[in-house]
């Protein structure tokens, strides 16, 4: 994430900016963009695009859904599914990825499956999951688990394979055993890869979730939107969309923050 804040201007101080601190100028530009977006939206709703609710109407709906507890409950239900599936997926992906990167045998045995399932969109598993696991929580969590597992496992595996050979040699000549090399060199060296994999995994988990809820659920953001569609309730759909976006963004930022903290040692560029 490089920030190009001095675009098109003579940059008086070529200070390399790191971390989440952003210049005031960039923040101002972001705010302007949001305001323009809202204005365009209001305009479109105002000139009478068929049935499109304006921002005020949607905000009203959001307040209503918040106060009657529907939105928090739906969000909670959705988050629970995502976090559970994501945690299980990552927890399994990291050791499997390490195994595949470290042992040629494990790689040979596991790679065909990983590569094959990677080409199937997790959503395509839903029909099978519903048939085999019913319509309860299990198939939804399973599909999310699969989505996050597949992206994390490949990232971890790649991270292990890409560990600099000279670092491993440097540890070996200092007398490190294979075990020490693994724990003290391979694991930290592949952390950046794993974290990137987790971010991608969380993204696809979140994307998979809503679709899974569209099919069969009794609560959740996807379910609420599906219901609203039946009653031609566009405001609720908008509230659902915005909630999904905001929550997804928040989770991504949290992981990004963790990534920055944990891999601050990296030489950028």
């Amino acid at each position: 994430m490089t920030q190009l804040t001095a675009l098109g201007k003579s940059s008086p101080a070529p200070v390399v900016r790191r971390g989440p601190k952003r210049s005031r100028r960039a923040v101002a530009l972001n705010l302007i963009a949001v305001v323009i977006g809202l204005a365009v939206w209001t305009l479109l709703a105002g000139v009478g695009v068929q049935g499109l609710p304006g921002p005020v109407e949607v905000a009203g709906k959001a307040a209503e859904l918040l106060s009657d507890g529907t939105l928090p409950l739906d969000a909670l239900a959705s988050l629970r599914r995502v976090l559970l599936g994501f945690l299980l997926g990552t927890l399994l992906a990291v050791p499997i990825g390490f195994l595949m990167g470290w042992y040629a045998t494990a790689r040979g045995l596991l790679e065909p499956y990983v590569q094959f399932f990677r080409t199937i969109p997790p959503l395509a598993i839903i029909p099978l999951a519903i048939v085999l696991m019913g319509i309860g929580e299990v198939p939804k969590v399973f599909v999310i688990f699969l989505a996050s597992f597949l992206s994390s496992v490949v990232a971890t595996f790649q991270g292990v394979v890409d560990v600099d050979r000279t670092l491993i040699n440097a540890a070996r000549v200092l007398g490190a055993s294979d075990r020490t090399i693994f724990l003290k060199v391979v694991v930290p060296a592949s952390t950046p890869f794993i974290l990137v994999g987790m971010r991608v995994g969380l993204g696809s988990a979140w994307g998979t979730l809503v679709a899974a809820e569209l099919i069969a659920a009794q609560e959740g953001l996807g379910f609420r939107m599906q219901q609203a569609q039946l009653y031609y309730d566009l405001s609720t759909i908008f509230v659902g969309l915005i909630a999904i976006g905001v929550l997804g963004l928040l989770m991504d930022r949290l992981l990004l923050l963790a990534e920055r903290r944990l891999t601050d040692w990296q030489e950028r560029r």
């Binding site: 600099d164 000279t166 670092l167 040699n169 440097a170 540890a171 070996r172 000549v173 200092l174 007398g175 490190a176 020490t180 003290k184 060199v185 930290p188 060296a189 952390t191 891999t263 601050d264 040692w265 990296q266 030489e267």
Partner: protein, 259 residues
Amino acid sequence: MNAKISFRDVVKTYPMKDGTFTALDHVSLDIADREFVTVVGPSGCGKSTLMSMAAGLVEASAGETLVDGKPVTGPGPDRGVIFQQYALFPWLTVRKNVEFGLKLMELPAEERRRRAERAIELVGLSDFADALPKTLSGGMKQRCAIARAYAVNPQVLLMDEPFGALDALTRVQLQDQLLDTWSQDQRTVMFITHDVDEAVYLASRVIVMAARPGRIQRIIDVDLPYPRTEEMRLSPEFGRIRNEVWHAVYHQAPASSAA
């Protein structure tokens, strides 16, 4: 014979698409205890491969490598290795990097701390002990790598073009510091370089290698007393030896291609 390191008829071949590539062709060399030897040669002459065998990182196809009369079977903390690419652990501070080998020796924390401190001081990095490698210059990174090797107190230092990536001034400073510490602790040093000046300035013996197949071309004694000084670099004697090495490296007879 009190050779510290000895290569006996060492051969290293790699399989290629068309036949085999001979990286080292029956190389024999003895390096005495406490000797400072430099190895120069064109790229592809196998000088790094030879050093890696002493380090235990590369296995010979034939022949054997002895350290202290015992065959090398793998790497070990008795032989410190310094790589051209520094090979610092980027997630560890200077101090933690230096302590890495000491932890493996299972020294008590206090002893570890003390020895790391001393090694860091020796290379002049005390002010940067808690800095991460990414904040250091190339020269400082290599100092840190040297401190990491010194800390475990190896009897042999194997250095693979350690100053190759540094600017000329930093290189000269590190050369002098290396000689300084060597004259005090008298480790055996095998130093790989492609820089003829560096080879002559540091060594008591320069091993000149030739490529295709990798072999020893000539061994040239450097009859200059230690400590070496900057004036010596300008002396006629230095110039003469330098020319001799230069000639041996860059005017090699066309290789008789070995079948």
